[in-house]
Subunit: 238 residues, 6 copies
């Protein structure tokens, strides 16, 4: 039995629930998924500041998971916050949803477009595309300018995101779409049917990547920079 | 039920059998794997010429698979021969073992070393690392200078490959090893235990990548260059 | 006396004849050109599948050329099919027309546009630009959406290709055009006069590159991956 | 009068004092420097985990600086922790010491070597070199394997770091050295005299970069991703 | 006391005067700036030919500066003519204005647009962006098609350049502007106020970079290619 | 009849004579080569300063060639001095020997080593490799530390260069050698026989590239930056 924790870096429980459903829908028999909401952090992640402030909560959650024998983790925000630190802390694999989504998209076509929420997050997504070697497949990153939490509440959200995907594919000459926010996970099938290209949700992709790594017995290397960090006493200030 | 064909581009049945065992060892309940040996091609692939001559056999096999409703394919030679053409021909996903191994290794550390058979295949591996965006993770490609078919018959094969892996990791400062030949698939665990880093076998990795893509309902995009190729009458000469 | 074989990877004799004329028009006194049509393969190359299926015919032709003492070869399809394998098999130099055209264009301006036939071949052209290091000069690859064999039969072909060149130069801010199909070889002068930039035909360029290499006594290196491939018995199946 | 805060991301006061001295030694008349120790965080930064946990303290410090009218900030740890978030929060410029040191080194020679503390921090330094466009100048990153706080207490520290610099320059064929830790700031002159190449300390370089930006009236752009982050209520958990 | 020579590579005295004012406006107390007009060269630099012909005059000026104990030099033309040779000849640092402007812009946002004079200079600017590692920040280079000397005499110059900046920022999605000609130095503040992004003038930026390097005691490395050139007798022909 | 001028950027007549012999040895019937020594410039080029000072002489020579109806030019120094400016001034093609040598080598193997004279010229060669897109083929640049003019006078010159080539090929794992100085042109055959790989001389390669371009009727594009430079009155100073 494989136990995967899908960690939502923001503190909005409804989003954790939706993310967990996406992950559960795709795992194989024998894989259990638990969705985790951290105890500290921002209600949604829409800036570098939000992202930085979400990381301690993510890391605390993963440390708790380690005590409970979790086999692997998904970091379920498209900025993949805290990924490197999480890999030091966890024994099993840790995968970010931007990481998994981009890798997955690269198997399906010549080039993908990312459609994300606010324009101010485009820089971070571009940085991750480069970090993962996926820059050569990433033909454009497009914002639909819907705030994260509106994805769940705006009745036109699916329509707006779908339209942004259609325009992105045309503008970029791409043949695959990557959804650039965990809050879009349940829109995949609808958009794919409408736009006519494969649409990748990072939550599903990351969960299955972790499932596969566990099946192969593969863990983050401890030779080098991802070895457990030296133990230290941290000041907790002001 | 998901049906995956693992296509061995060379015609050596014993190698197909070994590859199939590697794939079967990691798939989830509900996934069936069949190993396929093509009817034409070289007994092993150790040159660009061998690789080019293996492609028609691979494509014929996949066309046969399409008639039988196969869900996805693995091309089980580290040169990933015929991958682009196979994606045009198959409805479901097609993954090469170099592709899957390199992507997988990128999730596990800062940089990997590839250990392959003959030195003359290094150029092709480097080209694939670049194609998949994995060049930034690939710190070195090293040959153990064992011919492919000797991997199965030379009693020192495991020892020789293990030693090459150890030296590669040291020389490259890498923290993960990728095995650069389908014929090394069953050496993974031994080498990993010995060298102390994660060791990735492309056959397992590619099979699980296909399994995951099928679980998510994702197929190669038909918008653009991977659409089915125009039907034509081919001359069969001399 | 230098003997160059210009190998047309497709089986359309009329196209071989046209290609041969282009090559003959530019060679120096002392160079002989023969156009070669392979005995097997597709009538035109418009997909990865077509390209893969053309390679055995190209290689058989080159093996035959080796028996006849040919000094060097041109592979006259813009996908440069089988180039690496051909370099293993031939003693003298082998040049692809995409390779030669792109290199040549890089000597003439700051950046070139490629104008090709079908949009689905753009990915391959981009891959070759990267492989040859010409990506930094290649500002765009544009399709005129004429099938290869229509270049010869459509009365508007020159007009359509010329218009595509003009638009490409404007859109890309480029100062040179590369024609992306051997079937366009005889359109060079007309398009150049019309659009006002140098227009490069790969067939001429590749033939002269081979001529120059032979004049300098240069052959493909046999130190490393382009050494003659190990002899093997190939299965010829089904 | 220009007021620059040099923020030490770790909580070791002695290190803040040393860093401040380095900055004060180079500023022009009219520039005031204050060294800031955050209230929370690790005593030294030697892992991704340490770095992630230092960021909230850095950001709190900068928010306090904004209330006090600080003109610009230096983040004085070679991992440049929290740089993007800090740029959203501060009105004036924010510069990391890795950023400034690498840019500065690029003005002085063809290629530089970085000498840092522990080997496990090399990956982060390499990532920053790429981010800043300095990868093409960065010929190698070398660890002397001294923990950060030993730089101040180990009587052989200067000797060990100097020797690492000498070996780095020879191994890399570089002509400039970048010191990869704020704790090495006061070793610059000695090492330079000994090894015979310019040696760059990031604390001085970053402080003067901020001073120059303020002199030109330049601030972080607020058009796009570095605009002030949306205000939110953050959960403070567990 | 730091003495910086700002060398104007063209022979137009009015331009030297304007450049010198820009530099003087930003230096710290204790820094002296002298503007230098070379004795030979073109009246303005608008081609590779102009640039090549300006270099001997720049180098002669710097050799004279060396006799007078100048601490560092700015080369005040956006093509940074003669930079490498100048670094061999001068003991202190030498900075080009394209170099300084691009580095500076990279500290202020995610990506910058360059606005230059004639379109034919775009290629050189792009080459410099690459050379300095700034290509990843440089999102576009745009010409306003005003000849260099018209910047000073055309009453609409500021308006034309401002409009070009506005369009560049919109087209490129950039958040910073770099002015691509020394003759635009005094337009910075107006354009920034109008377009709403930081606008960087290379003359100020380069002068302050030199000032900072001198403050840190840093000079061009003499280990390797920037060592003083071997003394030779030069033919002065025709 | 095609007339090619091979311009030696230094003023040493013996070197012009040797270069001209190399060019003459490879051209086709119908091509005439003249070797040109400029009236001004350094006796050999071994620094950025030498190179900069050679450019006016090269450009004056080419302007004279234009008056005499020369069809194309070779710039016969491995730094390719003045190439861009020369392309503005000449109607026909202009090719540098580093440019031609590197392109040629890329047709012959997977990767080449450059062997040059003094170590201080390595940076320039690397810059050119990048500029021409040949960086991906260039595995190393090695100095034999013989001054340029000693190539002709040192009785051990061939032996020293040969040994440097052998070591370069081994160290780099390359399969082709590029000779990095026009003064080595006549060593090609000997070194190739000795080291066992193709050895490329840029003078021959560039001359034949010009010959081929002229045969195809191709000239430098005048659309954009290589258009004739605006006419100006130049100051001739001090």
């Amino acid at each position: 039995m494989t136990l995967i924790w899908v960690v939502n870096p923001n503190t909005t429980e409804a989003m954790t629930a939706a993310i967990t459903r996406s992950a559960l829908a795709v795992v194989a028999p024998g894989t259990t998924v638990a969705g985790i909401t951290p105890e500290s952090g921002p209600p949604s992640i829409e800036s570098h500041y939000d992202e930085a402030m979400s990381v301690p909560g993510v890391l605390t959650a993963i440390r708790r998971g380690e005590e409970q024998g979790v086999d692997g983790y998904v970091i379920a925000c498209f900025g993949d916050p805290g990924l490197d630190a999480a890999r030091e802390v966890a024994r099993g694999p840790v995968i970010g949803i931007a990481e998994a989504a981009m890798h997955t998209a690269s198997h399906l076509g010549r080039g993908f477009s990312v459609v994300t929420t606010l324009g101010r997050t485009i820089g971070r997504a571009a940085e991750l595309a480069e970090r993962y070697g996926m820059q050569r497949f990433c033909r454009g990153i497009h914002a639909c300018e819907l705030p994260v939490l509106d994805l769940d509440t705006d009745p036109d959200a699916v329509k707006i995101v779908t339209e942004a995907c259609r325009q992105a594919v045309d503008a970029d000459g791409s043949d695959v779409v990557v959804l650039g926010c965990a809050g879009m996970a349940d829109m995949c099938a609808v958009i794919s049917a409408d736009v006519g290209v494969p649409v990748v949700d990072g939550v599903s992709a990351a969960t299955l990547t972790v499932q596969s790594l566990v099946a192969m017995g593969l863990k983050t290397s401890t030779r080098g920079e991802y070895a457990p960090p030296p133990e230290k006493v941290y000041a907790v200030g002001g």
